[in-house]
């Protein structure tokens, strides 16, 4: 998001906060969110896809709500009205193609209205068929989760992304030679997918609260958190959304404003300045000495932190203006004395998601075996698998896999080391100085372990990553 886009989003939130505060919050957020997902989607080389991908986001979300909602709630008048509202907004956005000037709310001129109507009709038909398959409800939930994962893989695995782009180009008579893995940059899909999977899984477990279509849509595409999280939990989000809105008071404005300004400063002053010198594929091969390679790596480590936590602050500050208290995503992660604590404080909502929907179920499943694995092996398997999956969430490449392995093994080693040294460390650290020595050395070691892991994250090839590793230790 550019600073102008952020300021417009905040202006919209302030407008509601001051002018309309006590009425229409749900619909204001819903309408703003729908417009924002079209508006923020960047232009794509595939003709019309900067319009079709937001439409797909909406269709997937509506379908997910439909199969997670209670049968009796699905066809209420309120939900039909919401559906009509969503379709009207999408149609209006599409009709901007007939305006005599360049459209302001979509990256390019929206595609033909006939095709949109056809897609909407097919989506309606699909929902109708789903209604007929009520008795396969459990299977539908599983199919929806698998479908989301498949879409995720289709845009995140470079080879798949290429062939998907190739296929789309073939079907739409666009240049096949131009097919690239970056053709399908689907804004916010990673976050949307994780929010939806959370609701589908909770529905399977019978834990999902009853929400209507407008509430569900608002949760999934909530505009302050659409592009960079945090990944809230629906039951917590609903608690805030359903609370009666009150006039925007000084305290709220102050908290929201402080958070927002802090986020802007982190992102646009610190992170963007560090980005000029942060490690990347080009400078990794140009840097001449080990010392400077460390500097570029440190710059990357702080750049990614300030960038991401800055965006989170902006999202939290903006949503506070709307009366929604989004969860924290970062809590001084680089000051944590061990890797386990680092991961409890870095991208908190993502790690909580993986803990809830992968780590804990996998651990339970492994424990349920007739002959369970030895505990250390079980910890190794679950931690490595979880971290590799978190790596895949960022992109299915060798480097993200290695980054996941690095952290998975790091967590396992820390777990074993902690088990081995806990008693000795307690016995040794009897004075405040010794305790400080332990704490500070823990912070330094953890930070450097994380920073070295960023090499895989920042660079796109394993050979360049290896080159940097060797350079850092003056081996090359």
């Amino acid at each position: 998001m550019t600073i102008n886009q952020i300021l417009i989003v905040v202006a919209a939130a302030l407008f509601w906060g001051f002018v309309m505060r006590e009425r229409g919050r749900l619909h204001f957020i819903l309408i703003a969110s729908i417009i924002v997902i079209f508006w923020l989607q960047s232009a794509l080389p595939l003709r019309g896809f900067d319009f079709w991908l937001p439409v797909a986001t909406l269709v997937i979300t509506i379908f997910s709500w439909y199969i997670t909602a209670a049968l009796e709630a699905r066809h209420s008048r309120k939900n039909w009205s919401t559906l009509a509202l969503i379709i009207t907004i999408v149609l209006l956005l599409n009709l901007t193609r007939f305006l005599p000037f360049d459209p302001a709310l979509t990256a390019s001129r929206p595609p033909q209205t006939e095709i949109l109507l056809l897609i909407l009709a097919l989506s309606g038909l699909f929902l109708f068929l789903t209604k007929k398959l009520t008795r396969f409800h459990t299977a539908l939930l599983a199919i929806a989760i698998i479908s989301l994962i498949l879409i995720f893989l289709a845009i995140k695995v470079p080879a798949f992304a290429y062939w998907v782009s190739y296929g789309i180009r073939l079907l739409t008579s666009q240049s096949l030679e131009q097919a690239k893995i970056t053709d399908l940059r689907w804004l916010g899909f990673s976050y949307v997918a994780f929010r939806i999977i959370h609701t589908l899984r909770d529905r399977q477990m019978g834990r999902l609260p009853d929400v209507d279509l407008a509430e569900y849509m608002t949760y999934v595409i909530f505009f302050p958190a659409f592009t960079a999280g945090p990944i809230d939990r629906i039951e917590r989000f609903m608690k805030d959304l359903r609370q009666p809105a009150t006039a925007l008071g000084n305290d709220e404005l102050l908290v929201a404003g402080q958070r927002f300004i802090l986020g802007l400063f982190k992102k646009f002053v610190i992170a963007d300045a560090l980005a000029l010198i942060a490690l990347n594929d080009v400078n990794a091969l140009q840097v001449r000495t080990a010392g400077w390679t460390w500097i570029l790596l440190y710059a990357y480590a702080f750049q990614i932190y300030f960038d991401f936590s800055g965006y989170t602050d902006i999202a939290i500050g903006t949503s506070r203006l709307l009366g929604i208290k989004l969860p924290e995503n970062f809590s001084t992660p680089y000051l944590k004395p061990n890797l386990t604590q680092f991961w409890n404080n870095w991208h908190i909502t993502l790690t909580q998601w993986f803990r809830a929907y992968f780590f804990n179920p996998t651990t339970r499943w492994l424990r349920s075996w007739k002959n369970p694995l030895p505990m250390p092996l079980m910890i190794l398997v679950t931690q490595v698998a979880t971290m590799v999956l978190i790596g895949f969430w960022h992109g299915v490449t060798w480097n993200f896999t290695l980054w996941g392995l690095w952290h998975g093994l790091g967590l396992f080693i820390h777990n074993r080391w902690n088990e081995f040294t806990r008693a000795r460390a307690t016995a040794w650290a009897t004075t405040p100085i010794r305790q400080n020595v332990l704490a500070i050395s823990g912070v330094l070691i953890t930070f450097h372990f994380v920073a070295l892991g960023w090499i895989f994250f920042a660079l796109s090839s394993t050979s360049t990553s290896l080159h940097v590793f060797l350079k850092l230790f003056s081996i090359k």
């Binding site: 000084n250 404005l253 000029l276 400078n283 140009q286 400077w292 570029l296």
Partner: protein
Amino acid sequence: MKNEIKPINILVKGLSLFILINILFAVWQPKIGQFSAYNAIFPGRERLPFGENSAQAYNLSLFDLDAMFASHVINDDQKQDDEFRVILIGDSSVWGTLLKPEETLAGQLNSADMSACGKNVHVYNLGYPTISLTKDVLMLSYGMKYEPDLVIWLTTLEAFPMEKQLASPIVANNQETLNSLRSRYGLVFDPNDPAFVKQSSWIIVNRRAFADIIRLQIYGVMWAATGIDQIYPVNYEPAQINLEDNEKFHEAKPPMLDTKSLAINALETGIRVAVDTPVMIVNEPMLISNGENSDIRYNFFYPRWAYDQYRDMMAELSQKNDWNYVDLWDAVPANEFTNSAIHLTPTGEGLLAEKLAPVIMATCK
């Protein structure tokens, strides 16, 4: 009683503080460009900052002369007693487009380990891309602060046309310095020329300039880490060999080059700016094409008639004014030019350095 903080008060206080700082800044006008991380935290740059793609070149174009020179290695230390300081003034051929710092003319002259007047010769590259004599005078006037023992001013006919003088952005953004050159040394230009960018003392107006100064400091990390200060493309479009059948030089047509359309005054001003420091004016080497229409034109820049008259004019002016003038127009063969008729390969720069080295060593203040 609850001590409530009101956001509107914060907004008013913040705005007031911002206005106050702006006023103080406008009144005080601190030269923030003089504060530099170069030559302190990072090594000074071998040439003045210039770059069109800063993310790849780790360099950028800015118009604050203080900041530009503060980032240069010439700003590092006080001149030593045993140093014979030479500054090179000129265009992109001196700055060294497509050349690494050590491959430029300054780099190659320094590697020759010369001495003059019993002192060690140290050559500083103060060349700056864009071709304009007025731009050269601007750089020279700033470079004189560093007490050179010799000024080598490489130039070419393309730097002379009047319409080129203020076309360089660095000139257009430094009207105040030009005004001072006009009043002190008689530099001729139109102060109301629309090319000039209006200067302002307000922070809010100068925010881009301040951001550029900060970015220049940050890129010091990359300069120190990589030694790279421009993009070195693997492939580039070579200088044009086959030329158009066109005898025009800017608006001039044969048979006579109108000297009134040339900024000879800028050249004279430059000599005055140097005061009693010797100035060597060098007619820089250019590509002499043997391709299509090379009987009409020497290269992309020059029709033969205009360039021949320019050389005669320079020889005549030098003789008349007793200038130290060296004509090296054909000193480098055509195959030693890169992407322009004035940009040299490292070998070409080496050939030029070989020609200049004896002249430098023979110079004594």
